[in-house]
């Protein structure tokens, strides 16, 4: 009887198939083993693509906190990605900072930007937020394009690859494992947040702002927390993106990027962690898999996305509904 089933969790319909901790552990273990050996099995080209997918997983998880949990439509998420990347780029090349020392600065810069943008706008209803974030994303990109310190249109190059306890993170394989570790941390943090007092507060506010407020929840504060946590994910993703490519330019942070991140979240299923991960992989891998189709590939990709949204409007990942 459908009515007797508990509410869908952040794991979507996964708990029904993997109904015991042992089965769940086996599934997670299997995925980890596959991910760990992937660079040796699939070769160098695939490793680069998979690294990019993992970057998208991190960013999509961050955006999922904002859009999926708190229900705030953010159309300028690439701005936080840019804040992280440029913080690292400027501090390492211009001021000779160590990469690891720049990360706290990148995070603080993103938190600061999140509060400046979110503080005033989160008081309004969320359609306004969409417009403001869209503008914010463009302002950051255009500023980066025109400021001297960000290297204007050509961007910043020659960003040094970091060392970690004597390990020089330099090859594509090294970066693959760094991004894998980051993605795993990102997933753990997301899961823990979703099962917490703050995570529930996001859902309360998303479902019914007035009822949430009547229960004593400060909706502006709770939304701001989501927005800032999303910003932190974005800036950390951006920081590692910068050292991976060693060069960044304003065009890496365009509105198109923001839409791709948003697409990853919506495609897989907002608020469902496995769905968001799947969405991130699809957004990166599908255009690659369709490469043989030449100039038709983006057309096919677009039609595919439309069909998915038409037939599964709440995302690919299954939830028990009704």
């Amino acid at each position: 009887m459908a009515a007797l089933e508990p509410r869908p969790s952040a794991w979507g319909g996964l708990n029904r198939v993997l109904d015991t901790p042992a089965k769940r552990g086996t599934a997670i273990g299997a995925i980890l083993v596959v991910m760990a050996v992937a660079p040796f099995v699939f070769g160098p080209y695939a490793t680069v693509i998979l690294t990019n997918s993992l970057l998208y997983v991190i960013l999509a998880l961050g955006l999922n906190v904002v859009v999926g949990y708190a229900g705030l439509l953010d159309l300028g998420y690439a701005a936080f990605f840019a804040v992280g990347a440029y913080s690292v780029g400027i501090l390492t090349t211009e001021f000779g900072w160590n990469f690891w020392a720049t990360i706290p600065v990148a995070v603080c810069a993103a938190v600061f930007a999140g509060i400046i943008i979110g503080g005033p706008t989160l008081r309004l209803r969320s359609d306004y937020l969409a417009i403001v974030t869209l503008g914010f994303g463009e302002i950051v990109r255009i500023s980066a394009r025109n400021l001297k310190i960000t290297g204007a249109a050509s961007g910043i190059s020659g960003i040094e690859q970091p060392w970690l306890f004597g390990w020089h993170i330099a090859t594509p394989n090294d970066f693959y494992y760094v991004f894998l570790a980051l993605a795993i941390i990102g997933i753990l943090v997301s899961v823990r947040l979703s099962n917490s007092r703050l995570g529930r507060a996001w859902l309360y506010v998303r479902h019914d702002e007035d009822a949430a407020e009547a229960m004593g929840i400060n909706r502006v504060r709770v939304k701001l927390a989501a927005y800032v946590i999303g910003a932190i994910y974005g800036s950390i993703g951006g920081a590692f993106f910068a050292v991976n490519l060693t060069a960044i330019s304003p065009e890496s942070f365009s509105f198109r990027q923001s839409t791709l991140f948003l697409m990853a979240v919506i495609l897989g299923g907002m608020g469902k962690i496995p769905g968001v991960i799947l969405g991130a992989f699809i957004v990166v891998l599908a255009p690659e898999l369709l490469r043989d189709l030449g100039s038709f590939r983006l057309l096919i990709f677009a039609v595919g996305l439309l069909l998915i949204m038409l037939f599964r409007p709440s995302g690919i990942w299954p939830v028990r509904s009704r």
Partner: protein, 264 residues
């Protein structure tokens, strides 16, 4: 009478020139059960919304337990110890019964993002305390444990009403505002509701203010009844006094219908 818990003086509210409440004076005593009645559109729910901070009256004062409420936002009002239910059920969709009730404890707890991410012992303790408190509230209103994991909006209507009361109780209020709690309930459920409201006051020491159309329920439960008509408080007194007050009878659609409406 005991001390005053909630005191409204000279409260006036208008929307675009339409007077919704006019110079309303109104008290609720600590530990009492009071009711607010009146014809549809009299401004009863608006009065609730003024107390809980959703509407800001143009003039007047509202004091609760020594605190002025008018400068406060709704979530701050809840923290001072006023909880409410809604006229139309407003449980959180796609969330379980117990998670709905856990929302009430949000304003009494404090764990944040860092505690959750690091799974700190203090955060885990607090999570347990939130769950235990929600469970206690659910038991108090008589929702069986088998229903706690269900999606709240799939429960039977009468049960959803009780979950909403449990959710309000979970905020640990001193005053509970119930907006038409008996609407849509069967006769048996109404009798259970009367018992429940009595227990909320007697066992938990929570004062209750009801808006209700079912006058027989109001007359049975309340110690004080206030009557609002077209935004004006036209009468206040014991149920007996209200039932025989000519102004009240007049407000209720002419004398013959009033006899039925006021359960004479």
């Amino acid at each position: 009478m005991t001390e005053t818990l909630l005191k409204l003086s000279d409260v006036s509210l208008g929307f675009a020139g339409n007077a919704v409440l006019q110079q309303v004076d109104f008290d609720v005593a600590a530990g009492s059960i009071a009711s607010l009645i009146g014809p549809n559109g009299a401004g009863k729910t608006s009065l609730f919304n003024c107390i809980t901070g959703f509407y800001k009256p143009q003039s007047g004062r509202i004091e609760f337990d020594g605190t002025a409420l008018l400068p406060l936002k709704p979530f701050q009002v809840t923290r001072t110890g006023i909880a409410r239910t809604f006229q139309n059920l407003r449980l959180f969709r796609q969330m379980s019964v117990i998670e709905n009730v856990m929302s009430g404890q949000h304003c009494r707890t404090k764990a944040g993002a860092i505690g959750a991410i690091l799974h700190l012992p203090s955060q885990r303790r607090e999570e347990r305390a939130i769950r235990d408190h929600a469970a206690e509230c659910l038991r108090f209103v008589g929702i069986a444990e088998a229903e706690w994991a269900r999606e709240a909006t799939t429960l039977a209507y009468g049960h959803q009403r009780r979950v909403e009361i449990a959710r309000a109780l979970a905020t640990e209020p001193k005053l509970l505002l119930l907006d038409e709690p008996a609407a849509g309930l069967t006769r048996g459920e109404k009798l259970d509701l009367i018992t429940l409201i009595g227990r909320i006051r007697d066992e938990r020491g929570v004062a209750v203010l009801l808006i209700e159309h079912d006058t027989s329920l109001v007359m049975r439960l309340s110690e004080r009844v206030s009557v609002l008509d077209h935004g004006i408080m036209i009468a206040e007194g014991t149920p007996k006094e209200i039932q025989t007050n000519p102004r009240v009878i007049e407000a209720y659609l002419g004398a013959e219908d009033a006899e039925a409406a006021l359960a004479l």
